[in-house]
Symmetry: C2
Subunit: 406 residues, 2 copies
């Protein structure tokens, strides 16, 4: 007998018919003798409806009340799922965020889970109940409802699995696992059987939408095995687990790309202390998230070039802010390019294998693809290239690092 | 400066535009210098949508999870109203049932409020906030969400007004007050300026839909002045208040009618102890609510006749149950009549004025309207008559007791 946490997203509970199918799967797990906690998101259309209502009242709804509104979505889906499970002859009980003491900080809209209370769920197991928990929501120490932001239900599920020391946290989704690259782009993309938390963290922060970054961090911190699998089949998916000895034998685990960013360049910036601080202070005050940053010596004496990437949506504002700053930067020239993409290779094997960077750069240069920026971590290399060559670069790298299916 | 509780029903918050209008009214009260608590129901269409979803899963959804589902409706309306009030430049904060400690028993679907916590609302006033509270819902001692049943938001409002010792509980509705009879039926119907709790209780239990019975009981117990008024105008409505000396000067306050019941007769029932108990035990087990009961001596020796009324929807089942019981009742004949109505006159003045009953019966007999059953309380006389004569009887009684407008 195991303790299993299962998480289903908004699409999986988008209609009462689909809720019925989720109930059947949950009951099947229960009938294998396991204790089950199910975490669900709001029904797919519901969140949009609620957001629409709020925007009818305020052009920029935020804060405490917006969280109260959005959290009502999961209240609907947990109640319906509990009813559907009862209809199948099993005991079930729903729990809102505050009812399972999912304690968060007070940052409405993107609260962070600080702790979870496992006792009420253990009592539910003792009564033979299947527990259905609202994802995405928590409560702060003053009893205010908070929400966890995009993909927050993943985090709820993994946090509960951690708190309960569950045997596995199953994330059900519309794909059947995590792939070596986007299968829509590369025919030879392969499902990854096992991947380390660190690799998954890099993939998540590089834009893979399968798991929210924060949920992977939780998994890593508390050693929760996460099983990403399909809502539509019983096939094994991908396991996200602590790093294993054999994992380093694979040099590159996956190739990813991200077209959501733009590049801003400041050419001929005065080379004195505090310049970079000025630039990024101003962007931070405008709530613009900067991803990659590169600073080079300029050809001109006493000058330097500064280049960074921001979300495409912020290009105009970032350019405007830099133009304003330009005089203080010694008359630097500001330019922006939205036709770029970031292509990355990820793998814990890089730590013990040299030559990954040179192989990556060689592969791109052989295809005459120019590299505009480079950023690295211990287990990742990212390059910025012309957006036009994204697909070509991904295919070539996927093959070069031996990831194509035989 | 006063403390005002305002309650708005589902129709008043049925769209975001209407929520905006409610916000304006609330803010106007606040700007007069009063502390305000607003209690709202779910948006008019929302409850039906939620009920519909539940019925897609179960033909007879009940219990804890159904309450969780329905309670999500008020969560939406309080959040939107709080946002709308903030948009008008005022501080506002929403509260769910458990957040203001509306403690109830554990009878899901028709829970009774046992106590309310006033402290969090007083703290909100101290911060200058307009408090927006979810009607219709509470929490039991184990933290389960409960709902109060039909019209429950009235009860929430009056209970909070009682707990806060508010100066007034304003119930906003689509009529402009309580009338001496149905204005759609009698042209001369007049708005009642002041009515006692006891009279209002009788009217509510006789089917007047303006206030839920339980909310009037709360008002009476804690002496909360209730002001029933229109959402669409600033005109004074009707005040429900403790009985005043002048009230007994009016013999009859109002005339009401109710066509929702059917009459069941058992003729020639064996006259022995326990027969009536058998009959009403069986009806009660079938969850059939019996209103009027009359037992007469039969013309036949050792026999009696038993007549009672039940909701029309239960006529068939009640008849069937009585048929089954008939043998045990000494072969009584069972008959049912759905073409009846109950017409009542209500007034605290009856306690000090004699002759009300005879005047009522005489008025009806002068018009050749036959009385089938009679029931009385200290301040009410009800008669059952042929449904056909309902409107005629109401008009004649309204005039006979001097209630027609001059």
């Amino acid at each position: 007998m195991a303790l299993v946490v299962q998480k289903f997203g908004g699409t999986s509970v988008g209609t009462t018919e689909r809720i019925g199918r989720v109930a059947q799967r949950v009951v099947r797990t229960r009938e294998q003798g396991h204790d089950v906690v199910v975490v669900v998101s709001a029904m797919a259309g519901d969140t949009n409806r609620l957001v629409g209502l709020a925007y009818e009242i305020d052009d920029e709804p935020v804060g405490r009340e917006y969280d109260v509104l959005l959290a009502s979505g999961e209240q609907v889906s947990i109640a319906l799922l509990a009813l559907a499970i009862q209809k199948l002859g099993h005991k079930s009980r729903s729990f809102l965020g505050h009812q399972v003491e999912i304690m968060t900080d007070s940052v409405h809209g993107r609260a962070r889970i600080e702790s979870v209370g496992a006792d009420v769920l253990r009592e539910a197991f003792a009564r033979g109940e299947i527990a259905v928990v609202a994802g995405f929501q928590g409560t702060d120490k003053d009893g205010n409802i908070t929400t966890l932001g995009r993909g927050g239900s993943d985090t709820t599920a993994v946090a509960l699995a951690a708190g309960l020391e569950a045997d596995v946290c199953e994330i059900y989704t519309d794909v059947d696992g995590i792939y070596t690259t986007d299968p829509n782009l590369v025919r030879g993309a392969q499902k990854i059987d096992r991947i380390s938390y660190e690799e998954m963290l890099e993939l998540a922060s590089l834009g893979a939408k399968v798991l929210q970054t924060r949920s992977v961090e939780f998994g890593m911190k508390y050693n929760v095995p996460i099983h990403v699998r399909s809502s539509f089949s019983d096939a094994e998916g991908s396991w996200v687990v602590p790093e294993e000895d054999t994992m380093e034998q694979v040099v590159v685990r996956a190739v990813t790309y991200d077209k959501s960013e733009a590049r801003i360049s400041l050419v001929g910036v005065e080379d004195r202390p505090g310049v970079a601080a000025d630039v990024f202070d101003i962007l931070s005050e405008a709530n613009i998230v900067v991803d990659m940053i590169i600073q080079n010596a300029s050809r001109e004496q006493g000058r330097t070039d500064l280049t960074f990437t921001v979300p495409k949506a912020n290009t105009q504002e970032a350019t405007r802010l830099m133009d304003v700053l330009s005089a203080q930067l010694g008359g630097a020239t500001v330019s922006a390019d939205t036709a770029i993409s970031k292509v990355s290779v990820v793998g814990v094997g890089m730590r013990s294998h040299s030559g990954v960077a040179s192989k990556m750069f060689r592969t791109l240069s052989d295809a005459s693809i120019n590299i505009q920026m480079i950023a690295t971590s211990e287990i990742k290399i990212s390059v910025v290239i012309d957006e036009l060559y994204t697909e070509l670069a991904v295919r070539l790298l996927h093959r070069a690092f031996g990831l194509d299916a035989a």
